[in-house]
Amino acid sequence: MRTKIFSIIIIILSALCICACSQPAQKDKADSAPAITHCEPLTEIKDGRKNIYLIVKVIDSNYWQVIINGAKAAGEELDCNVYYCGTNIETDWKGQHLLVDEVLAKNPDAVILAPNDSVELASDIDKVHAMGIPIVLIDTAANTESFDICYMTDNLLAGQNAAEEMISQLRQAGYSGNDNVSVGILVGYAQSMTINERLAGFYQYWSNHAPEKWIVISDIMNCNGDFELGKKITAEFLIQHPELNGLYGTNNTPARALGATIKKENRTDITVVAFDYSDEIKTLVESPDYRVSTILQRQYDMGYSAVQSTLDILDGNTPSIKFKDTGVVTVNKDTLSDPLIREVIEHN
């Protein structure tokens, strides 16, 4: 009897084995649930005014707070109700997807969106547009034409500016075309259109303008939006590349990681070009010991102009262009006291 049971088990296992051989195991791709901040009033809410909803990338961030401030100022000055919401992680496009649905359920007059992912959020933008609701993008474009206008930094150009600044600062540091110079790059997220354009712009300018002996190390670091990870891999990178002369951080988180690591390791010999005006970068830019520059976007203008533009569209005006480069300023020790730069820094 036992032999029979054993045989039956063998037969069942055989059939299962054969079936298992035919198909590779499927990976469970389920992601953890996103953390989002639901819609809150940004301005005083009054009846009879247009309701504009702003969806930002990251709520708890200095950079995004400046954009929110710009939108709030516009809402108060231009007499409309502005609500805002966002995610807690810059890569959380699923959270934004939920927020778009939440906003649409509130019958908005217009939507302002800073897409966390240019590809994944494209269909959400298409959906809003198809409902006849004006949609204005800020900070990051999306791979769709279904938006009314986009206010953002031309990141390809901003990347070129960063490369130009890096070359300029390295020359000021005393390096000539005959010297071997190497530069490392830390990106925040490999799937971000903004970051990829800044990277592409940097590479493009560097390959066209840097001396032949000046190279970008092909081992590009990626911290995936994680500050602590960014510090760790930067520290390891400094050990692996003792010859390093420059570091480029493509956005806020890697810029902070570069700034914190450079300061911790006291690497005053390394030139840093970064983005945004985080505390870590601000300290180094203002310090006489470090050679650190940063590219600042005019994000206050993005927030303000986006609200202004939605009201124009709601008034029946069609924007003459689809893409407005809000421009950048380069901040370093030489330009720190420039009034124009000071104004942008004040907003940051």
């Binding site: 059939a15 999306a142 490999a190 493009q204 390959s207 092909s218 590009i220």
Partner: protein, 509 residues
């Protein structure tokens, strides 16, 4: 205790003259294991074959696609050059006239078009002129020989990635300018896309020096125009393929043409091929295709084969199990026939010898009893053989009834039975024999003519004890037989223990 008894009861039934049950299952398991092993090897070999085939084929497709894309771009540039030549042949004198002529002749699928005269002055809209300054497009125009294309950039007017193409334009008797045409990056998707592999092939433009990549075509239409960098995306491929990928990028940096590579990414195998774009110095068309696209059909076929094998296996197993069941039933029947007396159902002599041999090995106190029906020949002669058979059956039933526990009963010869049984005491065995005497002393049997008669069976028996009288079976049987013989000598219809026989022989009286 019950289990022990039950096991002992089966001693007589356990005799297997035809063996093979266990070995059959072992053979079945071994065959199954061999079958599974062979099937596994077959699947692995099939997968490897598909993989090699796909790698080769996808590489070839990539090469063809990149050449197709490249020649499509060439066609676009040639068309622009032809239009410039055609307009140039009109020999316009003023740039304004040329600009107007260009605007009139440009096809609707272009976003914008304009003219740059010999001094570098641009004849275009304000927004377009702003783009020229922003992206230093005059540098690209200077590369036209006779056509050049800019790197992709985002148009302020359209908000989308665009490319501007420049062609040399001769006007006003020998002056040289440029005609430019700007079109969306999606125009490239139109020339790149193929219906058959639309959802699988990815096509990019890549800058050799920087490794910058922009997508022209792919399964996700929203990803068209997306920038990335080969050095960054390289980090996500299979680690063992990174050195090959790095070498591939290095060859591109050295402007080698028509270079292919294969690598794995997220458990998918990709073939990738690139070729130079003549009108965009330093830029390549890169085509990538996942090899599993091609193998999808083959995988279906493989799954059909596996399903067929699985069904075949089940059918064969069911068939074998059925055959085994029939064979086992026949064997059991044969075995029973070969071990049991067909009339009484007790063991035959041969089977008894085997079973008793095993019994002795248990070394338990036992009694072996030879029983002989008295004057049985006369029964046959008087009542016939059928009646005699009924007597034998009735007697064997009495034996079974009284020695059903822990005993082996056998019809040893015509009217001779032998029993070997566990012995708690001589008295117990004697008591059972007395009970048998009672049981068969008055039985009712039916004659051939259906007449029922009361019949009394008498028998003689001789018994010996194991291990007291003998410690081996032949001797034990001999002693029991001696005791039986003595009973017969004394006039039959009685019982005697061999031990008593020895005492009697020693007794001088």
């Amino acid at each position: 205790m019950n289990n022990t008894r039950s096991k002992d009861n089966n001693i007589g039934q356990d005799i297997q003259l035809i063996k093979g049950g266990r070995s059959f299952f072992m053979t079945l398991i071994i065959c199954l294991a061999v079958f599974l092993g062979a099937t596994g090897v077959l699947i692995l070999a099939f997968n490897r074959l598909i993989s090699r085939h796909d790698q080769y084929l996808s590489s070839e497709i990539c090469t063809i696609m990149s050449e197709k894309m490249n020649s499509s771009i060439e066609s676009m540039t040639e068309a622009a050059d032809d239009m410039a030549s055609m307009l140039s042949a009109q020999n316009y004198e003023s740039p304004e006239d040329i600009y107007a002529a260009i605007k009139n002749n440009v096809k609707s699928d272009y976003l914008s078009a304009g003219f740059i005269d010999e001094t570098g002055e641009k004849y275009a809209t304000e927004e377009e002129i702003a783009e020229f300054n922003k992206w230093e497009l005059l540098k690209t125009a200077a590369l036209a020989d006779p056509v050049s294309m800019s790197a992709p950039y985002r148009s302020s007017v359209y908000g989308q990635p665009v490319i501007t193409m420049f062609t040399n334009f001769e006007y006003d008797n020998g002056r040289n300018g440029y005609m430019f045409i700007t079109y969306t990056f999606k125009e490239l998707q139109k020339v790149a896309v193929t219906e058959s592999l639309e959802n699988d092939v990815e096509i990019w433009l890549m800058n050799a020096e920087s490794g910058n990549i922009i997508q022209c075509a792919g399964p996700d239409e929203h990803a068209i125009g997306n920038w990335t960098n080969a050095y960054l995306s390289m980090k996500s491929i299979n680690e063992k393929d990174i050195p090959t990928f790095t070498a591939w990028l290095e060859r591109i940096r050295h402007l080698e043409n028509n270079i292919g590579i294969t690598y794995s990414l997220d458990n998918t195998f990709y073939s990738q091929h690139c070729s130079c774009i003549k009108s965009m110095p330093g830029w390549y068309v890169v085509v990538r295709i996942p090899s599993n696209t091609l193998s999808a059909t083959m995988h279906k076929f493989r799954n059909y084969v596996i399903s067929f094998l699985a069904v075949l296996l089940v059918v064969v197993i069911v068939l074998i199990a059925n055959m085994y069941r029939i064979s086992k039933r026949d064997n059991e029947l044969l075995e029973r026939l070969s071990t049991h007396d067909p009339l009484t159902g007790v063991l035959n002599r041969r089977a008894f010898n085997i079973a008793a041999g095993k019994w002795i090995l248990r070394k338990k106190d036992s009694a072996l009893i030879f029983v002989d029906l008295d004057y049985f020949k006369q029964v046959n002669d008087q009542y016939g053989h059928n009646f005699g058979d009924k007597v034998l059956v009735a007697f064997s039933d009495a034996l079974k009834k009284n020695f059903s526990d822990s005993s082996i009963i056998s019809r040893f010869g015509g009217d001779e039975f032998v029993v070997i049984t566990e012995m708690n005491s001589v008295e117990d065995i004697t008591s059972r024999m007395r009970q048998i005497e009672k049981d068969v002393s008055d039985i009712t049997l039916t004659k051939d003519n259906n007449e029922q008669i009361n019949y009394s069976i008498s028998f003689s028996s001789g018994a010996a004890r194991f291990p007291y009288d003998a410690d081996n079976l032949p001797l034990l049987m001999k002693m029991a037989d001696n005791a039986l013989y003595e009973v017969k000598e004394r006039g039959r219809n009685g019982s005697l223990w061999y031990a008593d026989l020895a005492v009697d022989e020693d007794d001088p009286t």
